[in-house]
Symmetry: C2
Subunit: 243 residues, 2 copies
DNA sequence: TAGTGGTCTAGACCACTTC
DNA sequence: AAGTGGTCTAGACCACTAA
């Protein structure tokens, strides 16, 4: 049942991932590329594309001349930092079933770091949406989004404040979020943030300070997020790079 | 002058990066893949491989049907987290010329997190190497490596304690470091670490807790590192993933 | 020496953007 | 309609690992 869309590569990738999770293989060894290609009736290139993606996700590793192997360690990686697109999905990948609570949604003049990040003038207004993500009523992360009000194409957005930001920007600003430039910052939580997250003030936490851009590199949104380190910890595989 | 090794793809990649940094292009637009392929006398596949790597580094982005463009934001990324291999190189990429000071190198029984990470028994000995990386006498990061002593193939390693760990493991343990599994942890610096880094106790910092594995997934080393956030901040590009 | 992954080619067709 | 990047094929040869 080989069809277009999802792409062949995606189907092959899903198939191999399935094999990894169910079979386990002997010695964690995955069949040779040529064999996979023959079995699935696709070209070796397609198989290699699929394997390359699995490799970059940390699920497998390859040794020239030896073979392709399952990377048990890599399976601990729930999500690659650079692949995080919505926090809803991030939390789901970590095994949560998050609910979202909008703590605040109001317009105010941009503070100075926001104005600088978004290229605004002093006094320009931004819509501030503060969302808390919970798992079973327990706070996991807090995120504050700031969107220039001049992007808003209407006023009837109240129902969608809980939506993922890229969706909100699409629906109510007619802008398409393309990527984030993100800084990873260690902080001691201030009293306000700590209380919203249900931890003691001063608790160390990871904070993301990010700017979301559209395809033309125009900044659309500035986001600041804080995570409960005891509930959500970021892991990654570091390898010798080809660069 | 097209030769093997470095690979064609690497040469093409370097060539395009050169173009990006010097020319700047109009509208940040990069010539079409077919044109690059013709100019350089290589196949489009090779050009695409090179562009894909540049894209994953954040230097460019591609829009189907529209073209390939320079990503000015992405050029701010000094090094991808997942491509960090030695801290020497990381610091160089950030514009430092780091010097290394070995603060300690001694054998001791493994503490319990180390023993667990490396699969050791209670009381097994590890060689602990504590290194401080400085820029102009100013501490930037501190790293502690723990290597099981039973890996050591000799006793004359004293001169190489300052070497990058993968080199030390190669030369004195005959083991080849393949990858790290790394956790990103927010901490408030304890008095000892803070004083070594020259900051106040309690200063928030990023800590990496990592296990280094060889090709067979055998753990070789556990490392704990702390960074001066005011001198070295991690940035990354987050994109919608193909996964 | 046999078998594996790594690199590269030449070409086809598709999906999408732009004019 | 023209031109771009995205997907896929079939095949060649190389570099490396393992028996």
């Amino acid at each position: 049942m080989i069809t277009r869309n999802p792409s062949l590569t995606d189907q092959v990738k899903a198939h191999i991932k399935e094999l990894i999770l169910t079979d386990g293989f002997e010695d964690a060894r995955i069949p040779p590329e040529t064999e996979l290609a023959a079995d699935l009736g696709v070209s070796r290139t397609t198989v290699r594309d699929a394997l390359s993606r699995l490799q970059s996700e940390g699920a497998i590793y390859r040794r020239q001349g030896a073979g392709t192997f399952v990377n048990q360690q890599g399976l601990q990686i729930k999500s690659r930092l650079e692949d995080i697109w919505s926090y809803e999905k991030l939390l789901e990948d970590h095994g949560f079933e998050p609910s979202v609570r909008v703590l605040a949604a109001s317009k105010a003049p941009a503070d100075s770091p926001t104005a600088e990040a978004l290229g605004l003038n002093d006094g320009d207004m931004v819509l501030i949406i503060e969302k808390l993500f919970l798992e079973d009523e327990k706070p996991v992360m807090l995120t504050i989004n700031r969107i220039p009000t001049h992007f808003l194409s209407g006023t009837d957005y109240a129902d969608d404040e809980a939506a993922p930001i890229y969706e909100f920007l699409q629906d109510h600003c007619d802008r398409s979020l393309s990527y984030y430039l993100s800084e990873i910052i260690p902080v001691a939580l201030d009293a306000d943030t700590a209380s919203k997250l249900g931890v003691d003030p001063g608790t160390p936490a990871i904070s993301f300070d990010e700017i979301g851009f559209d395809q033309s590199n125009e900044p659309l949104v500035r986001a600041t997020s804080h995570f409960r380190d005891d509930l959500l910890r970021f892991r990654l595989i570091r390898k010798r790079s080809g660069a």
